[in-house]
Symmetry: C2
Subunit: 252 residues, 2 copies
């Protein structure tokens, strides 16, 4: 058996997230991908993935892996998958991975970028990929708040369904806030993220940027370990999973 | 009665073009816009438009005008229209125009830009807005061909339905070809365009860029005044109407 590693990009608009659901009529990225891979490999394929993206969330550098007995060259596998799924889901890269490689468990860092368009009027050409929020936002305030979020913290306040007994501590390694024209981009890098954590962090950073929450109140929001302490959840379209890191990486 | 002038941007993917059709179930940009404007103005509205874009073609700087007895401020009209139609169709600007202004007949120049992505693999985030054509293309050859197209010519060879007796001479004022990363952009400025003319010109320029047609053969393709002389029609997604010019303008 070989392990194949895929790098994927997808427009999440038309999918109910990554994870395959029991109802086969629910379109998911995993369901679409596994269906095509199984047909190409001529056996049932199960994939492991670095980031289980939510409904409507996009990816540019998602990584998935699977075991196969097929002898097809990775480039042929990539071409056949793209012929069936592109451009909605695209295999950007396909290669043989080392024995035992698992895209989910081997990942040491995930990077998301959230885009907010603050222009007065929405842009039809970016509307699927940003959150249109025509408001004044202070980048400086958002950066000040972000500094309190970086580091190892219990992020229960920024998680939708922590699940009883599941670990809720994550190591946020970097948050950067940048503005280009009317677009504000927030980059988040962490060892891993909890459910809806990036969108919840973005919701609070936006509230800070708009002056509704004080940057200095972040430590108490974290300490509350209660979701009602945070300020709303940003909608999915603005969020692509940008990249996954494997192997060692310097901390900041 | 007042004349209102609207600047519009729209994602043409979900529309069968600008022009309203008899069948009310066919989604068109004009049909959607007129329905909302009539409701806001409280009377039947008829619009005049600078560029009757085809099915699937986008616009960033489309201009439309209409007569109304409504006394609503243009900014209110813009907000109400956007509340109903954005982000698929967006009113970028709304203002009172001079008496007798007509967006179609007053326009002196239209500018389109066609985008081609030559990367080996499609990008899910631009797929709706470019033509994915993974091929080697020579910008220099395309520019050489473009020089033969600039000027006043009979463009029958690049028109889908000239219509008997309809004028087929157009004044192409500029064509520029540029590359940024894997994207090749072709800008076309002319007094006006025939039906499918930009996509037909693009199809031939791409054939030239790929080495299938000689740049020096453009004059004979024009002289043939026969559509079969040209080389294919590029698909709609790559094409947005960028801008419309009113009033005098320097030639090149």
């Amino acid at each position: 058996m070989r392990v194949i590693r895929l790098t994927l990009a997808y427009d999440g608009t038309g999918f109910r997230g990554w994870a395959r659901q029991r109802d086969p009529d629910v379109r998911t990225v995993e369901g679409s991908l596994v269906g095509v891979l199984s047909r190409i490999a001529r056996h049932d394929v199960r994939v492991s993935v670095a980031g289980r993206t939510d409904a409507g969330v996009h990816a540019r550098g998602q990584v998935a892996s699977f075991l196969t007995s097929s002898r097809l060259a990775p480039s042929r596998l990539q071409a056949a998958t793209n012929a069936a799924l592109a451009p909605e889901i695209v295999v950007v890269d396909a290669r043989d991975a080392r024995e035992g490689f698992d895209a989910r468990f081997a990942a040491t860092e995930r990077g998301y970028r959230y885009g907010i368009d603050t222009a007065p009027v929405a842009d039809p050409f970016t509307a699927r990929y940003v959150w249109h929020r025509p408001a004044e936002m202070s980048i400086d305030r958002m950066r000040a708040a972000a500094r309190h979020l970086v580091g190892e913290h219990d992020f229960t306040s920024f998680c939708r369904h922590p699940g009883p007994g599941k670990p809720t501590v994550r190591d946020v390694r970097r948050i950067s806030v940048a503005r280009a024209g009317s677009i504000i981009s927030i980059r988040f890098d962490a060892n891993a993220f909890l459910h809806q954590m990036v969108r919840a962090l973005t919701g609070t950073l936006v509230a800070v940027g708009e002056g509704k929450v004080d940057p200095g109140s972040i430590p108490s929001i974290l300490a509350a370990a209660d979701r009602s302490a945070a300020r709303g959840v940003a909608p999915p379209p603005g969020l692509p999973l940008e990249r996954v890191v494997y192997g060692r990486r310097e901390r900041r």
